[in-house]
Every structure is written in C-alpha cells, then in structure tokens.
Symmetry: C2
Subunit: 485 residues, 2 copies
C-alpha cells in the first residue's frame, strides 16, 4: 500500500497546485493592479508547466500499475481514486509538450486577435486565428482520443467525460424542435416588458439579501466585483464569487445567484474527498446545472421574488414581487447569449454546438461560419444578425481554443430543471420556504444527491442517480412552457 | 552558454514560485476567509517543498560548474547571477530535508504556544518551545556555516550576508553608550506630548495624501488594511502595501509611509534584473533602511508635516504642522518595540541582539531570559517591566525560530540616517520640496544609489557605495540629537 500513499500524496500536491492556480487567476481578475499582468502570466505558465510535469511523471504510472493489480484490496473510495487517476494521467500523458505549448500560445494569441476583430466587427481579421485553433484542436483530439473515438467526442471528454456528439445532438434536436414555437409565441405576444432601472445600491441590497438567505457567510466565502462574474474555489473552506453592477437591470442579482450555485457545489464536497482527485465538481454540465438551478429555479422563483422585492424596497426601490418576477422571466429572442432569457438561452447553445461540431468534423469551412451563424439565428430564434460583432464574434470560447465547452451551458439548464422537479417531488413545493428565503432543505438535498459524489460519478451516471432518469429534455420544456404561458 | 540559458530559466522559475508564495501569503493576511486556513497551509507547504526541490537539484550544480569554468566569457551581470546562484544553492543544499521540516514545524508550533503563553503572561509555558527553537537554530547554523564560521554569524547571513556579530556588537555598542543619556534627557523634560485622537476618516485622508504625493498609483500598487502592516511584491509591476487604523494616533500614516519605503525598493529594481536571482532587495537591513528613510526622514520631516496637516484638516481634523510634527517625534522610553519612538527604537533592538546572541552562543539559558530582559530594559531604557507579556514575550520572532533577524531593524535605522545625510548633501536640503510633497528627486536618488543594484551588492558594500563610508552610527546620532534638542 506504499503505492497508495505515494499516489495520494501526489494527488494532494496536484490539488494544492491547482488551488494556487485558481488563486492566482482569481487575484488577476479581482485584485491585481494592471502592472502585474506580465509577471502573473509568467507565474501562471510556470505553475502550469510544473503541474503538468508532476501530473505526468513516470512514477505515477508505476503506482497505478501496482494499485490496479491490487484492486480487490482497495476500499471503494480508493478504487475511485485510482480509476480517475489513471484516466487523468493517460489523457495528460498523450499530449506532447510541444503541442501543449502551441495550444496555449494559439489560445492566448487567438484571444488578442478576437478582441480587436470584435471591436472592428471584422470576422475576416479573426478567421486565420480561428482556423489555426480548429486545426490545433483536431491535432489535440487526435492525441487524446481513445481507439476509434471521433475528434469532437475526444474534445467533449475534457468537459463532460462520457458524453458523445450523438447524445448531445439527440437532446439538442428535441430543443431545436420544441423551443422555437414557444419563443415565437412569446415574441408574438410582446407586451409589458419595459426595462427596469434599478439603482446600484438597491441591486447590492438584493444581492446581499439573496446570498445571506443562502447561507453565504464571511467564514468561508468572499463576494467581490469583477467585469465578468465568476466563481473560484481556492480551498474547501474558501469559496469566492463575483458579480458586476454595470447596468440598471438585475443581472447583478441573477449573476450572484448563479455563481453561488457553482460555489455551493464545491463548498459541499465532503471533507473526505478534499485534496484527492475526487474533491471537485464532476463536469462542466453538472457544475452548470448547479448554477442554473439556483439562477432559474430559486432566483427566478415567484416566491423568492418576495425576498428580493423586500430587499429592493428596503433600499428605496419599490416594486411588487409579481412585477419583479415578471421582469426576471421575460421571454424575448435576442442576439446575445449571455443576456438571453431562460427559454431562448439554450437555443443559442444549440446553434454553437452544431457549428463547432461541423468545424471540427470539417464539414463547415471557417470562411462560411458567419453565414451559417446568421442562418442559424434566423432559423432557431427568428432574429436577423446585423453584424458579426453581435453575431459570430460575440463569444471568446473559440478564440481561446475551447471546442466542446458550449454544450455544457444548455445541458446544465436541462439537468437543473430535471433536478428541480425531482427535488420538489421529494421535498414538496418550495413556494412557502422560498417566500421566507429558507433554502436549507434545498442545500441538503443537493448535498445528498449531487455534491457528495465529487468526481466519483460522471455526468450521465450522476444525473441518473439523482433523478432516476437519463438526460431528459422534458422537465425543462415543462418549465419553459410555464414561463411562456 | 547552454548552461547559462538553463540556469537563467531555472532562476526565473524559482522567482515565479517565490512570487506565488508571496501572493498566497498576502492573500492569507488580507483577503482569505478564515475557513481557507488549513487549505492555504497545505498549499504553502507544497509550494515551499517544490521550490526547495527545484532550487537544490543536482543539475544546477553542473550548470554552475560549467559557468564558473567559463567565468571570463560572461558579462558583468551574468557573473553576478552565477555568483549569487552558487551562494544560494550551496546554502540551501546544506540543510537536510528532515531538519528543514523540523524547523518549519517547530516554528509553527512555537508561534501557537507563544500566542497562548503571551495571552496568559506565562514565560514558563513558552520556555520549552523556545529552547527547542534555539537548539534547532544551532543545528541549522551548524549545517550552513562556512568553515570556522560562528553559529550566530551563519544565522545572520540569511538576513544580511557578510555581517558578523562582532561588527554588529561594535555598532550597537556605540548606540548603547550614546543613546541612553539622550533618552534620559528627553524623559526628564517630559512635557507636552498629549496623545492625539485622530478620527479614522482623517487618518485615511492623510494616508491617501502621503501615498499620492509619493507616486503610489493604481497601475502598479495596492493599499489594503491588515492587522499587522506589511508589504508584498508579487511582481515588478505589482506592489502591495497594508496599514491599519485601530487607534486614534497616526501609526496608520507612519506605517503606510514605512511600508511604502519597502515597496518602492522593489518597484525601482531595474527591469533587466526581473525574474533573475538579483531582482530583489539585497538584505533585511537595506530593506529596512528604505522603510525607515521614508518613515523617519520624510514622514516625520517638519516640512512634510504641512502636507499631512493639510490632509487632516481637509478631513475635519485641525492641527498645525508644528503640533503634528511634535506629536510624531515625541521621545519617551516605553515598553513596546513596535510603537517606540525613533530615538528609543534602536535600544529595543540592541537588547534583543545581545540576548539572542547569548542564547545561540549558549552563555544565556532560556530560563534566565526574562530576568536578563528586565535588566536590559532597566539599563538601556530606564523602564521597569511589569510582566512578561509586555516584556520578553512581546515579539513573535524567536517563537518562529528567527534568530539573527532583529539586528536589521536597528541597522536599517542607522543606514537610513546615513543615506539621508548623503542624499541631502547631494541634492540640498529637502524642506522646500517636502513642503510641496515633491519627492521625485528622492525617489530618483534612491533608484540610482540603492535600488538599481538589486542583490548585486551586499549590505556593507552597498552602504559604502551609496554613502562613501561604512556602517556608521554618527548620522543617526546627529538626527537623534536634533529630535531631542
């Protein structure tokens, strides 16, 4: 069992290094003076390189061989430690250092090019960088693919191990079929969705009230402001959310609630998994399901609108809970993903999935991407794209070389709805508790059915275990129909 | 020259890792929620261990051998890179991993024991931990000592390479002789030193005015609050100060100015030294000379009192520059080092140096330390120590295993005074510029005579280069006499 102790020591070390990387990235986005940029880039690159060295060292292979031979003698937890360690080790080992360096450089340069191309609205200026990223993503997929695995599926495995393009296409196909009529119905009705103009102080009061109700305390959480809201987990007792306050609407509140969902997932991972390779959220989809559950099903719940409206009123912004709920659940097709409403949002993702799959499979040329984008927006959402800046250039993901990431945004929405249905079927309707801001049972249910597994279950097994069904579109469609009704 | 590139890459990596350690420590003291404590300790220990491994690896020795053989072909800068790399490498290699681990553990446990012993005022409770630290410090000195080097001198080399107990004793002997009569004179006069009661908002205005005058901008600096003021340099364009506001006096302002001096040193290290082993302050004494120069000679300058008084007045706290200057330069013997005035301060250090030297040399037993402390306070400062909490237990250094550190506090005061005399002799009296808050020439003079060398000159050579003389007590004594007059 010396191999087990050695492996667990190394995994703890890797977890420490990854926590430090998250700390350095969090600091960069919230605290660091701009002059720290070049130094921080060097520090992060050094940490990345050392982590890679330590994660792919030959001795790990020897420990894993010994432990796999001794499989029967290991407890359940250690068997999972070894299983995931083998998976991570093999995937990382398959990427040559040169390719990893080229991927990192292309991602960094791609984001720079994208930033100015978007500012100029010029897709042509971005196309060469995108083409390079697509080619490198294929080369990367070639390295990490299991025997016979398609390139896109190999990429998907970095975000949601075990999912396939085929499975995603099946699920998203159902969305592409069922949602557009709902959206058209909502759009045709139009109506009373005047923009809110909420003063920042009132927004802050609502953010504070929501997070306090959820149990965000200063002992283990931080809440800061950053240009793009995000969550970081530095250690199991150190969870950090951000939000932003730069418009008069309530995106600040929804963003804080969304990020809380990510944070709570990491916060409620059991202590016995800390500093192992199992002690974090299992996948991008399941992580997103946690943020979307809190955003869509708690934050936008009509009963919770009473808590938020009271906080806004206390800060001098008078609004009835019903008006507030109406404003938070307006359905209206728009151009921009990040500010899309809960019903149209998944269609933005369906489009991106179809396009990136075609790029990776080679059935869509980069030059044809803007036209395909604009056609897709017309077909799925019924909107005309006036320019590339608000069209194909709006997201950073492809510029940063991330292909296979987008599906998790919509899968998270679907999983959130399925979990919420199951949660309410177990615990009963949440209206009364949410009116009081009481989420203790929701937290406990999520801890028991989702968080406690850490990485021990992958996306689909976890969803099956928690909901009793596989990935399922119907709970979300029921939720969407109720919002449009 | 491949060895040079390899060495420089490794040194850059080590500098990155050390920057990350400072970031993690800064975050721990300013931002981290308390629940992050255990995780952070593990992250820091991992970083420390990896850094040690990378800094002591055999290949470095091989690169150094090759470069020392090729000495003549190297430029000046690279010769210094190699010279310091050899020194650091040999010192780190001489400490066995077991001893390093034991030192770290004893330091951590010692600080815990000290904290509760100080709260209880019980030296007896602390004595065993202190004894263990003394023994481990001797064992450590035994490892790192050059041939025939005394234990204490070997310890001193971690803070001020090249200094010896003999040299420190000579310098401090002169202080022990010349200062007590001055202090007695000031104490006998007593007089108008009523405590200020400055509201926190006014303190903040004064801190802001001072730092703005000094050129602290948001592009490369942060200023935060922490229980113990400190400075951290995360990268050459990322300097972070803290201060604290927990009393009605102006320690907040003096602390911020003091920390600025540390920060400016690191900020003005030339870019060509960044990410080498030469790109930081050269020693504890010289670092402290920078903080003390700004604190004692700028912050407490009668002309700069006009800037501070104006800021205080603007925030509603009316005081004349002369009253303010008087309050900032009261001389009065007290029990506590950290709040001592500029004249009595070095005597607190003289006492600690004599005692720690005797502990390490074995001429003073730990059990006899409180009595020796109390005798020393009576002899040097003329004060009676009422209890160990405000006596021998007041500082954390020995609890954390730091022996040889204290002298730098007083040496810094002496070097600051010598640099200031030389600076004014080069630039002329600073009163007129300081009345306007103009420190541009001071910054430039320090950059040229101190900061630009990085670690290329050790303490004494640097002082000689900058002042034209060796370590010298007289400039400080002239300054002290002027304050008491």
């Amino acid at each position: 069992m010396d191999a087990l102790a050695a492996l667990r020591d190394r995994l703890a070390e890797l977890d420490d290094l990854e926590g430090l990387m998250r700390l350095a990235a969090w600091d960069q986005r919230t605290m660091m003076p701009p002059g720290g940029g070049p130094g921080r880039a060097a520090q992060l690159a050094t940490l990345e390189r050392l982590t890679h060295e330590r994660a792919t060292a030959d001795e790990i292979g020897a420990w894993l061989d010994a432990l796999e031979d001794a499989g029967g003698e290991l407890g359940d937890l250690d068997r999972d430690v070894v299983r995931l360690a083998r998976r991570d080790y093999e995937r990382r080992r398959r990427v040559p250092a040169d390719l990893a360096a080229e991927l990192a450089q292309a991602a960094s340069e791609g984001q720079d090019v994208w930033q100015s191309a978007r500012a100029d609205g010029s897709f042509a200026a971005f196309a060469p960088a995108l083409r390079r990223n697509v080619e490198l993503a294929r080369a990367y997929a070639e390295c990490v693919a299991e025997d016979g695995q398609a390139h896109y599926d190999a990429l998907l495995a970095d975000y949601d191990f075990g999912l396939t393009a085929e499975r995603v296409r099946e699920v998203f196909g159902r969305l592409a079929e069922a949602l557009p009529p709902l959206v058209a119905e909502a759009a045709a009705r139009g109506g009373a969705d005047a923009e809110l103009e909420v003063p920042v102080d009132a927004q802050k009061a609502a953010v504070g009230a929501a997070l306090e109700a959820f149990g965000v305390d200063r002992g283990s959480w931080r809440v800061d402001v950053s240009p793009h809201p995000f969550t970081s987990w530095i250690g199991s007792g150190d969870i950090r959310l951000t939000t932003r306050y730069d418009d008069g609407r309530l995106e600040s509140v929804l963003a804080a609630i969304h990020e809380f969902g990510h944070g709570l997932y990491e916060r409620q991972i059991p202590a016995e998994l800390a500093r192992t390779n199992l002690g974090h959220g299992t996948s991008m989809s399941v992580h997103e399901s946690q943020s979307k559950l809190w955003e869509n099903h708690v934050g936008r719940h009509p009963a919770f609108a009473e808590v938020l409206a009271a906080a806004l009123g206390g800060a001098g912004f008078e609004i009835t809970p019903a008006e507030l709920h109406g404003a938070l659940t307006v359905v209206r097709p728009t151009l921009i993903r990040v500010s899309a409403d809960p019903v149209t949002y998944p269609l933005h993702i369906v489009l991106r999935f179809e396009l990136e799959l075609a790029l990776i499979e080679g059935t869509l040329d980069v030059a044809d991407l803007p036209a395909a984008w604009n056609d897709g927006m017309r077909g799925l959402l019924g909107v005309e794209v006036p320019d590339d800046a608000t069209g194909v250039l709006q997201d950073v993901h492809w510029a940063g070389g991330a292909f296979g990431y987008f599906p998790s945004y919509a899968l998270g929405v679907l999983i959130a709805a399925a979990l919420w249905e199951r949660l309410e079927s177990d615990l009963g309707d949440r209206s009364e508790a949410l009116r009081r801001g009481d989420v203790a049972e929701i937290r406990a249910w999520l801890a028991e059915h989702v968080h406690r597994h850490g990485r021990r279950l992958d996306t689909e097994p976890l969803v099956e275990q928690a909901t009793g069904r596989g990935l399922d579109v119907e709970p979300f469609l029921r939720h969407a129909r109720a919002l449009v009704a």
